[in-house]
């Protein structure tokens, strides 16, 4: 019981930071801006991003660097929250670091497949280097998949990726690698939660992770059916599979047309009316957004609240990037507003 109570301060801290996150009104105001410079000035004046943008000159800052700084703020916040009550000593709380490592490995695989020299090192976020267990800089020396495997030897990622089929031209199936790594990621989270927390807490974490997996699988299955005409078997093969999870989706995968899938989703998942492809992803993401906000205010478990919070931070950054891109390319503000994730 005392273990549970000991992380209440972290939960309160997260709720306080969540209270400073950008609101619908903030996004609305941002949509009235006409340049990246104005957006930077606006963000620098918000309590949420004031500290990270304090030393920035809005007139000279590069758009990419601005986005990197927003992501850095999210990552640093997560690190600070984990260190606040020494939660970082519990393996579960490495979930964002592990996710970052996986994203970097996938970035490298993509770079190897496309043969674009240096793109991995250029895109590697510098703020994560000192926090990951994997030497992400050392990985940059891998110019083919075999070398990457050699560098990953001794890490959990080696076992996961070693069986991925290598084609004659030296490339590897990116989608398969992604599926394997994501499966490993979610399996680890569930395992770590079950080992570290009492039943009531771990149940809540597992329930949330299962919802995450179902969400990914549902969207991916729809894409596979709508854009590539995959059969039920092919769809099942490409899903994230974790024992006892997603069995109820079998009937969804077996549907014949994308329209039937939409109907199924309308009936079983989304509260919003998903009328076509354009509304599907935004509608479902908004559904998830609502669920995460609910978790933050309903739950008293630090693992659940932190996990939900990091995802909300990701949505917030993606909304800002969406707005910046929209403004740069002169997109109608009402179109952008319809596509950003707010409730």
């Amino acid at each position: 019981m005392l273990d549970g109570l000991s992380s209440n301060a972290t939960v309160s801290k997260i709720r306080a930071i969540h209270g400073r996150m950008l609101t619908k009104d903030n996004y609305h105001e941002m949509l009235t801006k006409r340049s990246v410079q104005e957006i930077t000035e606006y963000l620098a004046a918000t309590p949420r991003f004031a500290s990270v943008l304090a030393d920035i000159d809005p007139n000279t800052v590069h758009r990419g660097f601005l986005e990197t700084l927003l992501e850095k703020e999210n990552f640093d916040t997560y690190i600070r929250l984990c260190q606040f009550q020494q939660l970082d000593k519990i393996p579960f709380f490495d979930f964002l670091i592990e996710k970052t490592e996986i994203d970097c490995i996938l970035m490298l695989i993509n770079s190897i497949n496309t043969g674009v020299d240096r793109s991995y090192l250029n895109d590697l976020p510098g703020y994560v280097i000192n926090h990951t267990k994997l030497d992400l800089l050392e990985l940059s020396s891998a110019d083919d998949f075999n070398k990457l495997m050699k560098l990953l030897r001794g890490t959990p990622y080696h076992k996961t990726l070693v069986r991925a089929a290598l084609s004659d031209d030296g490339t590897v199936d990116y989608t398969e690698c992604e599926r394997r790594l994501r499966t490993q990621y979610y399996t680890n989270i569930i395992k770590n939660a079950e080992e570290a927390f009492p039943d009531s807490q771990s149940d809540e974490v597992v329930r949330m992770v299962k919802q995450d997996i179902d969400f990914l699988n549902q969207i991916n299955a729809y894409r596979m059916k709508a854009y590539f005409g995959f059969s039920a078997e092919q769809i099942k093969k490409h899903q994230i599979k974790i024992s006892n999870i997603g069995k109820k989706l079998d009937s969804y995968y077996e549907l014949d047309t994308p329209e039937q899938m939409l109907e199924w989703l309308n009936k079983n998942e989304a509260q919003a009316d998903l009328t076509d492809v354009s509304t599907l992803e935004v509608g479902m993401q908004r559904e998830k957004f609502r669920r995460l906000e609910h978790q933050i205010y309903r739950s008293f478990n630090a693992p659940v609240v932190l996990y939900a919070f990091t995802q909300l931070c990701g949505y917030e950054t993606s909304n800002i990037i969406h707005i910046i891109e929209g403004i740069r390319y002169g997109v109608d503000p009402s179109y952008i507003e319809n596509n950003i994730l707010i409730c």
């Binding site: 000279t60 990419g64 090192l121």
Partner: protein, 651 residues
């Protein structure tokens, strides 16, 4: 003293009259605008007028002109100023700008050079000790050199690039590292590209920087002086021009602020087939005034509807208050405005706050000083805070008279009461401790019962039967609480055996059952259905219902006791105030005759400042936790009449 009645207003007219109509809405000072519809896109052919504000650019242009001429922007009467359209303002801005353009350019060039020189000095400071000619470094045939700053996070990446370059860091800050990189001239395009991808911000040294660091610094300082003199001369000439155009710029800017603000309101206006559609609220008492303002239009049709006619709009709340209660508005707003159909608790707060303050801080002399201080604060700082202090001070004087306390002298008023023949006054605090504490609890019981009555009234008004009848603050709660209080008082204090079986069954057990089953009972009354949960989709089992309500009942009972006992602090502060003044008096008696007045003044000032503040905070706590929480629903929307704000924010 309730909540101001509202009317929902819609204005429909031809687009040609929109600007004038918005002007009139602002002029009325009583129109609270709502978006014509809730989403940003289109609805039933109605589009939001989300146009680009044409005045924004001109507003910025005049801000720029004011900034260049060193004019401080302030609100000015612009009634006689002719330009109205953005084009007319643009023309005037151009004409004013041309009058000092040449001088301004010269000054800008001088200032830019000053910045360049200062920047170069900073850079050269980093290169001190390097005895090489800068010109030689930057004009190498085979080596390219770049100076600038690189995000600190990217520093570690540099070692992992195979390209032919090296980076020399000068100074590392939290976000950036200042430094310089060198690379072969024929590879500089690739390396520049690489550094750009890491967000390297390059700084170009001015062309005149040459020689080693000492020589370069000397040359730069000479140049700095020359440029400074040129800049000063230009500034003097600009000052003369500034005096000539100041009036016009201020008028133009004030008018632009007004027009810009009015135009911004268009974002809440709907548009369909050449007609505009505006929606909002007007207080009922201002309806006539608003209608008169709207009469001059040819095409504008004004329709009034009940405030709840549109489900998408929440009517705003204006609290109606008298002169006595008005200052206490700020406490209600601090807690949260009641909704439009709710109850205005300001009068209740005003009376209870004033009385409780007087009881807890009763002293004729100190109360008088609080009144004087309140008058000063009201005049100089904050009218509401001053008003509250005056009322509380007066109450403190009244109760101070009852306690017979004047600046801590507890016997000063005794002769007066003896002459009047009132033998039960003044109230000697330390001799009647029990009476004071019991009275404090009695006040608490009375206030809690009053809060419950207010809750019952609000519940019936909103047709919320759970709240009004079956809730812990409804009729059931009121009967239970007052019966228990009456039973205990009768049995303990007056030795009356009123806790008989019928009394307990009818006035204690049955209300408790009602509170326990408040959800199914209220559903049965309202919908004539039986359901254990208020949420239709929630499947509540009987076991779950019992467990959930058992704990809630436990919490309710605990809160009845704790909330009542909380009022003991009222009596506690009466004793504490008297105790602290007793300490002051004892210290004064121990001091020399010369020091006694000083001790008295300092002691009184200390007690007033410390205890006055603590008492004020404690009453706020009592009001918010023990009283407001029983009936207040603070989800009201404040009434914000449209208008334009002047904002001077030159860059």
């Amino acid at each position: 003293m309730g909540i101001e009645k509202m009317e929902l207003v819609t204005l429909v007219g031809q687009m040609s009259e929109l600007d004038l109509c918005l002007d009139k809405c602002c002029e009325s000072g009583c129109f609270h605008i709502e978006p014509a519809f809730s989403s940003v896109g289109t609805a039933n052919g109605l589009t939001m007028l989300n146009e680009k504000n044409g005045y924004s650019a001109q507003l910025k242009e005049f801000e720029r002109l004011a900034s260049e001429l060193g004019i401080e922007l302030e609100q000015t009467d612009h009634s006689g100023y002719a330009p109205r359209t953005p084009e007319e303002f643009a023309q005037r801005a151009k004409e004013i700008g041309q009058s000092f353009e040449e001088i301004s350019q010269r000054r800008k060039q001088a200032q830019q050079k000053i910045s360049e020189v200062n920047g170069a000095i900073t850079q050269i400071d980093h290169l001190k000790g390097m005895n090489s000619d800068f010109k030689e470094i930057f004009s190498c045939k085979y080596v390219a050199a770049r100076i600038g700053r690189l995000p600190t996070d990217n520093l570690e990446k540099l070692d992992y690039y195979d390209e032919n370059f090296f980076f020399v860091p000068f100074e590392t800050e939290s976000l950036y590292c200042w430094g310089m990189y060198f690379c072969p001239e024929n590879e500089k395009a690739i390396i520049d590209d690489l550094f750009r991808s890491m967000y390297f911000e390059r700084i170009t040294l001015p062309g005149f920087v040459e020689g080693d660091s000492d020589k370069a610094l000397k040359k730069l300082k000479q140049d700095l002086e020359q440029q400074q003199a040129e800049s000063d001369e230009c500034s003097r000439q600009m000052e003369l021009i500034s005096q000539q155009v100041k009036d016009e710029i201020l008028k133009a800017y004030s008018k632009l602020c007004y027009l810009h603000g009015t135009f911004e309101l268009r974002k809440k206006v709907g548009f369909m087939s050449g007609k505009f559609y505006i929606k909002g609220f007007v207080p009922k008492k201002d309806k006539k005034h608003f209608s008169e303002l709207m009469q001059g239009f040819e095409s504008v049709v004004v329709s009034y509807m009940p405030p709840d006619a549109d489900a998408n709009c929440t009517p705003p709340t204006i609290l109606k208050n008298s002169w006595f209660t008005r200052p206490f508005n700020m406490l209600v707003e601090m807690y949260g405005l009641p909704n439009y159909g709710g109850f205005n608790p300001t009068a209740f707060v005003a009376v209870t706050y004033t009385v409780l303050f007087g009881i807890m801080f009763g002293d004729l002399g100190q109360g008088f000083l609080v009144v004087l201080l309140g008058l000063l604060v009201g005049k100089k700082l904050n009218k509401n805070a001053g008003g509250m202090m005056v009322r509380c001070g007066l109450s403190s004087m009244v109760f101070g008279t009852l306690y017979g306390s004047v600046f801590g002298f507890e016997e000063l008023l005794d002769p007066m009461y003896e002459q009047l023949g009132v033998d039960f006054l003044p109230l000697k605090v330390f001799k009647q401790t029990n009476f004071i504490l019991v009275t404090a609890v009695g006040i608490g019981v009375a206030l809690i019962i009053m809060s419950m009555l207010i809750n019952i009234y609000v519940g019936f008004k909103q047709k919320d039967y759970e709240k009004a009848i079956f809730g812990c603050n409804g009729i059931a709660g009121l009967i239970f609480y007052s019966s228990v209080a009456a039973g205990l008082v009768g049995t303990i204090m007056f030795d009356m055996k009123i806790m008989s079986l019928p009394f307990v069954l009818c006035l204690i057990v049955i209300p408790l059952v009602c509170i326990f089953c408040r959800v199914p009972f209220s559903i049965a009354v309202k919908y004539k259905k039986f359901r254990l949960s208020a949420d239709e989709d929630e499947k509540m089992t009987v076991g779950g219902f019992i467990v959930e309500n058992f704990f809630e009942m436990f919490e309710f009972l605990l809160s009845y006791i704790s909330n009542t006992m909380s009022f003991l602090r009222v009596g506690g502060f009466v004793l504490s105030h008297a105790g602290m003044m007793l300490v002051v008096m004892t210290l004064m008696d121990g001091a020399s005759a010369a020091a006694q007045p000083v001790v008295l003044v300092i002691g009184n000032a200390f007690v007033m400042a410390m205890e006055g503040m603590i008492v004020a905070i404690q009453i706020i706590r009592l009001e918010f936790y023990e009283i407001f929480s029983r009936f207040s629903e603070s989800d009201g929307v404040p009434f914000e009449p449209v208008g334009t704000k002047f904002s001077a924010t030159p860059e």
